[in-house]
Symmetry: C2
Subunit: 330 residues, 2 copies
């Protein structure tokens, strides 16, 4: 089959493309062809036998979406998005990429079907736990309402609704995946409000200082980038019958306090690493994080076979394996 | 103040315009001017001292929305919509009117503010209990998720999300009102799946036969057209502080079985009226109705002062007062 990934140059997109190329199959079907598109050129993954097409474009314009649909990929991973902070700063860009981009893709698929005969691809959509907004119950159930407190969360919630309606009408076979916090993100510290969730592990493992802007009692749900890729691939394997009409699913994760994150770091890298975490209380960051969801039941996802790590130790070990070559820097 | 009603030729729109014209005030402020727009000319309400502008147009196009926003109405009731059945039959029209119409209005308001100085109107949006989709708990709480099973419900749910995000950003002062079933609708029997909820009362009161396609145990929540208008007017009076960030509210109503509706008809119009209801079981209608929500907690709306009728007898009496001149036909 032909697999298309939008947003293929992103952190999760690159890893997804690499895994699909390496395994040469997805959802039990061999992959004959890969198309990777993003606003900057996605890297060409290694180890794939078939043709790989790299496209550098804004995949969300009506014209580009039509060109992608005309390729009639059997399976589409729609990951292209403006991230939370940028969607909040740039109102128009966020709506254009995150909302219009999704709608243009869905319309292009519908149009391709009308024009050139039945075409109903599997469409895996990366949504976010950002569709939820405080106040929250102790654990967010699968039937808790979406009341986002960001434009990003709004755009993702709308994407879910569109995907469900187009799926209900048989125009696509959609499944939406609400990611929890994905850590440990590789790379440099960044200015995002939740960056410290990765930073307080990533930097100390490299012998560098990390700032902790919030208290150790802050609770949050995490999964590794490897699990994020696993969620997407598992979603692609789910039948319409298994999913039913409620196709948007909250993913499981490891729900821990910052203190428990630090304890896991201590077990794996010792007190010397932990000592590199410097408390730097930041009222603004604490306020933002307070609006974010903490714990999910994720009952449906678990019963459908989605799996994250068992504990935060495992999330750190995955980071060491996938990003640090399998061993702690010396 | 200047009040704009879109969809002003509709059943609820006409009654809202008539009441605002009669009372000459809304939300404690005198009304200086009324603008009424719809795809067919809305009737000119009686008893209003100020100017009334009647516009016959598709208010949802970008150009018409811009023209309306340029009038800078202080209070907007956005009722314009394609109804459920038509939105299901005509995919493009439903999305164009119900989704693009809402987004064009919000964007026109934002643009007017940018162009000609701060403009943040109060915007009351008519949403629907159609945002909910089966299966349901015994009573739908205020934090139950929106998983619509129609394109209409999808478009209304998206409208709510947009309204909340534009409100959060201070671009409008929005409030969304999820109507329950509105009965007794005046006029002729129609082909809509839920038409019998009105028909089994309306027709017998006129000495005419009515068909009942479902069982007497079907449970549903209703309010009168008078209450629908009351919801909209009350919504216009709520402050941003009273509403908080969750601005979309499920309205209260009278939750009764079809059997209880019939018992109310018997109390008010006697056995002769009840005998005019003819059982005509219709599997298709029964299946559609089974997907609709039955009972709402509506706790927030009740605590914010929204009121529907106390029982179905009162809904019938409101119909007799408002649509039959205050007495049963002889």
């Amino acid at each position: 089959m032909h697999v298309l990934i939008t947003g293929a140059a992103g952190m999760v997109g690159q890893r997804l493309a690499a895994r699909l190329a390496r395994e040469g199959a997805c959802a039990g079907r061999p992959i004959a062809r890969l198309t990777l598109t993003d606003i900057v050129a996605p890297p060409r993954p290694a180890g794939f036998d078939g043709p790989i097409t790299i496209r550098t474009e804004d995949s969300g314009t009506a014209a580009n979406a039509a060109a992608l649909a005309a390729l009639r990929p059997d399976l589409i991973f729609h990951l292209a998005a403006i991230i939370s902070g940028e969607a909040e700063r740039d109102f128009d860009k966020g709506y254009r990429v995150n909302l219009d981009g999704m709608r243009n893709l869905l319309e292009a698929i519908r149009e391709e079907s009308t024009r050139n005969g039945p075409y109903v691809p599997k469409l895996v959509f990366s949504s976010s736990s950002g569709i939820f907004g405080a106040p929250f119950p102790p654990a967010i159930s699968d039937d808790f309402h979406a009341t986002p407190l960001t434009s990003y969360g709004t755009q993702k919630a709308i994407g879910e609704l569109l995907l469900a309606d187009y799926s209900r009408r048989g125009l696509v076979e959609g499944v939406g995946i609400r990611f929890p916090s994905i850590v440990i993100r590789p790379g440099k510290p960044n200015a995002s409000a939740g960056g410290f969730f990765s930073g307080i592990v990533r930097e100390p493992l490299q012998g560098q200082e990390a700032l902790l802007p919030v208290g150790e009692d802050v609770l949050f749900t995490h999964a590794s980038p490897r699990s994020a890729v696993g969620f997407l691939i598992h979603a692609a394997s789910l039948s319409r019958e298994a999913l039913g009409p409620r196709i948007n699913l909250t993913m499981p994760g490891v729900c821990v306090t910052v203190g428990e994150q630090i304890a896991a770091l201590r077990r794996i890298a010792g007190e010397r690493a932990v000592k590199l975490i410097r408390r730097a209380p930041d009222e603004a960051a604490a306020t933002i994080v307070k609006g974010w969801p903490t714990r999910f039941e994720a009952s449906r996802a678990l019963s459908l076979g989605f799996r994250a790590e068992r504990d935060f130790d495992e999330i750190i070990r995955v980071h060491i394996e996938d990003d640090l070559g399998g061993h702690l820097p010396t």
